[in-house]
């Protein structure tokens, strides 16, 4: 019989090996749907690898997609640390994008050094404001934030559709529902010419570092971790549990809002209803793969982005549905959940009955 023995601490190497093994397992499991689709397995993996890392442009594209994923991954990681399950990153991303357009499409004018920070701040504020509601409802009424944030995702997407079909619609867009474009001064500079990679990546990396420092080196970060680990003990120790949850909710929402503002200001230049292919939900996978570590989020976002970019080329080359990418990412989440047991327990073989 197999027995699980709780570990008092997790070996560092194991903590690193588990997400890598889970990611590889998910990639290996992708062979099943590929085989069902009748695709040549070897060629499929080869084109996937080629599509993600085969050229400078491929790599730039992976980094471009990793940028919003770092933001949404951080949003999930920091909230989950406090056991505040913010699943609303998708909605916060869109509201952040909406705010970025409201500020950046001509409402303010000036040098880029002034306008760009304003646009990003608007996105962060909008995301934070959206998450305040569910966080307060959790603290004051005990309403499960998972359900409120999930439902708000639908509300925000409808709000975005309403705005870009109505008051914020670009009259020059020939009937396509999209917002007016940002003015030049609001756009983030490109990092590499003739790619989509923009300065938002540097912002995302800076945020990852900042959240890391916050969680590991500050009093507020200690409170966040304590509230997540043992809320009753945190309350007994006199920590402001409710205040911490609301604060962490605002921070999480702000990070997700930045993802949206960054996509508008760095990649698209305007807002359309297809801005995010599920970056908000994928952020949860990123955070879990990272073991909720802010720095790990960067690596996990890179992996998930590579899966999406690689699967795009693969699905074109061997004609399978591009939903294969979502499938791989979902399998990676389940794999890392299951494998996470190894970090918390020691698996021992024992005779039945010997306790």
């Amino acid at each position: 019989m197999i027995r699980l023995q709780p570990r008092s601490e997790t070996p560092r190497l194991l903590a690193l090996a588990v997400p890598v093994a889970a990611a590889l397992a998910a990639l290996a499991l992708a062979a099943i749907p590929l085989a069902l689709a009748g695709a040549p397995i070897g060629r499929a993996y080869a084109t996937m690898l080629e599509g993600a890392f085969g050229s400078r442009f491929a790599l730039a594209e992976v980094l471009t997609r990793a940028t919003p994923l770092i933001f949404t991954g951080l949003a999930a990681a920091v909230a989950f640390r406090a056991r505040l399950y913010n699943i609303g990153a998708e909605g916060q991303l869109y509201l952040g994008a909406l705010a970025a357009v409201a500020v950046g499409a001509g409402a303010v004018d000036g040098p880029p050094a002034l306008v760009t920070p304003l646009v990003l701040a608007a996105g962060a504020l909008a995301g934070a404001a959206l998450m305040l509601g569910p966080a307060l409802a959790r603290v004051l009424l005990g309403a499960d934030e998972v359900v409120t944030t999930l439902l708000l995702n639908f509300v925000v997407l409808l709000l975005v559709q309403m705005m870009i079909e109505g008051p914020m619609k670009d009259p020059m867009s020939l009937g396509w529902p999209q917002s007016e474009p940002l003015i030049d001064a609001a756009q983030l500079p490109k990092l590499i010419e003739r790619t989509r990679l923009h300065a938002g990546l540097l912002g995302a990396l800076a945020c990852a570092l900042a959240v890391h420092v916050l969680l590991s080196r500050t009093v507020a970060g200690y409170a966040i971790r304590a509230v997540g680990a043992a809320p009753a003990a945190a309350r007994f120790a006199g920590l402001p549990v409710a205040g911490t949850l609301v604060g962490v909710g605002a921070l999480s929402g702000a990070l997700a809002g930045l993802a949206g503002a960054g996509e508008v200001a760095g990649v698209k230049g305007f807002l359309a209803a297809d801005l995010s292919p599920g970056y908000g939900y994928a952020g949860i996978v990123v955070a879990m793969l990272a073991g909720l570590s802010p720095l790990g989020t960067v690596a996990a976002a890179f992996f998930v982005a590579a899966v999406f970019v690689g699967a795009d080329s693969m699905s074109r080359a061997v004609t399978v549905s591009s939903y294969i990418a979502n499938l791989i990412v979902a399998m990676a989440l389940i794999a890392v959940l299951v494998a996470g047991i190894l970090t918390r327990y020691r698996v021992r073989l024992a005779r039945a009955g010997s306790a």
């Binding site: 749907p33 069902l36 689709a37 989950f80 399950y85 699943i87 409802a137 009424l141 005990g142 309403a143 499960d144 998972v146 359900v147 409120t148 999930l150 439902l151 708000l152 995702n153 639908f154 509300v155 409808l158 709000l159 559709q161 309403m162 079909e165 109505g166 939900y281 949860i284 996978v285 879990m288 004609t319 399978v320 549905s321 939903y323 294969i324 979502n326 499938l327 990412v329 979902a330 399998m331 989440l333 389940i334 959940l337 299951v338 996470g340 047991i341 306790a355």
Partner: protein, 314 residues
């Protein structure tokens, strides 16, 4: 005001309310069953999607409509087994595990749909369940059109609620399910296997959720569309809290919700043009949030909800 009353007083309005409520009745019944046993099943959105897809697909491939319902239920049960394996057997976070299953089931459904129909721009249609035409019953005034001219699945949904209420309140097994959601250690002390009970409840509850999804493709519409479940699963979770985890109140919540949804569609026709359509489409989600907030204040959740049970640990 006059128009609002006019709408509420028509028979077709209440028939529509019950029709809109049907997938929610199945979903909320499944959620109540899972949660009374102590497991928050956030796989619901994906399970409903998978039920909608697989049920529709087998009918499209030639099976009968009830065959479609059965396949949907089996798909739901299988996904329920996955949810239970993660949350009960392995004791992992119910929040994250459920979301993981939703992501997996949703993407697998979309992938499977594209696999079966590689290049269908216009989704193929099936012949869905027809409205019932029962002797005497269907011709009753008011009750006839509201209850007995629905499709068979709507009546099945009402039957499921009655069965669930009876099961939880009156049977020894139902008592054990409730006890396992309140105090699993006490159940274990009675010599009953906590994990088996919880797994059973999650599997059965998930099967119900999937049938709710199948109602969308086999009765409400006649084709499968991407994102057609559109948050109904999450709405069911909110309604469960609103209902205080009681089956009869869950039915009431679902029907009220259906009535509200039918009302906003009719109001949209009256107010058409003056207000953007999206405002009306937002209302169901906002209403669910409101229901959750109201419910969260008063309701008493099963005590062991979201707490994994590990033998020999307190």
């Amino acid at each position: 005001m006059q128009t609002a009353l006019d709408i509420l007083l028509t028979v077709s309005f209440w028939a529509a309310a019950l029709r809109i409520a049907t997938p929610l009745i199945f979903g909320v019944a499944g959620a109540v069953l899972c949660e009374r046993a102590g497991v928050l099943n956030l796989g619901i959105e994906g399970i409903m999607t998978a039920g909608a897809m697989t049920g529709w697909l087998v009918v499209h491939l030639g099976a009968g409509l009830w065959g479609g319902v059965l396949v949907a239920a089996l798909t739901g049960a299988l996904l329920g087994l996955l949810v239970a394996g993660l949350t009960v057997s392995l004791g992992l976070s119910q929040h994250v595990s459920g979301l993981a299953v939703t992501l997996l089931a949703t993407s697998a459904s979309y992938f499977g749909y594209r696999l079966a129909l590689p290049a269908a721009a216009d989704p193929p249609r099936i012949v869905p369940f027809a409205p019932l035409d029962l002797p005497v019953l269907s011709d009753l005034p008011v009750l006839g059109p509201v209850l007995f001219r629905q499709t068979a699945l709507t009546l099945l949904a009402l039957g499921v609620i009655a069965l669930l209420a009876w099961f939880l309140a009156r049977t020894p097994l139902g008592l054990a399910v409730r006890a396992v959601g309140e105090n699993p250690a006490a159940v274990e002390a009675q010599g009953i296997d906590v994990h088996r009970l919880r797994i059973g409840a999650v599997v059965a509850g998930s099967a119900l959720m999937a049938v709710g999804g199948a109602f969308l493709t086999l009765s409400a519409f006649n084709a499968f569309f991407f994102e057609m479940v559109a948050g109904r699963g999450w709405i069911c979770i909110a309604l469960t809290v609103f209902a205080g985890w009681r089956p009869a109140k869950a039915l009431l919540g679902a029907v009220l919700f259906g009535a509200f949804d039918a009302f906003q569609v009719r109001l949209q026709q009256v107010a058409g043009g003056a207000v953007p359509g999206q405002v009306f489409l937002m209302l169901p989600y906002l209403l669910s949030i409101a229901a959750l907030l109201v419910g969260a204040r008063n309701a008493r959740a099963p005590k062991a909800l979201m707490t994994p049970y590990i033998r020999g640990e307190r």
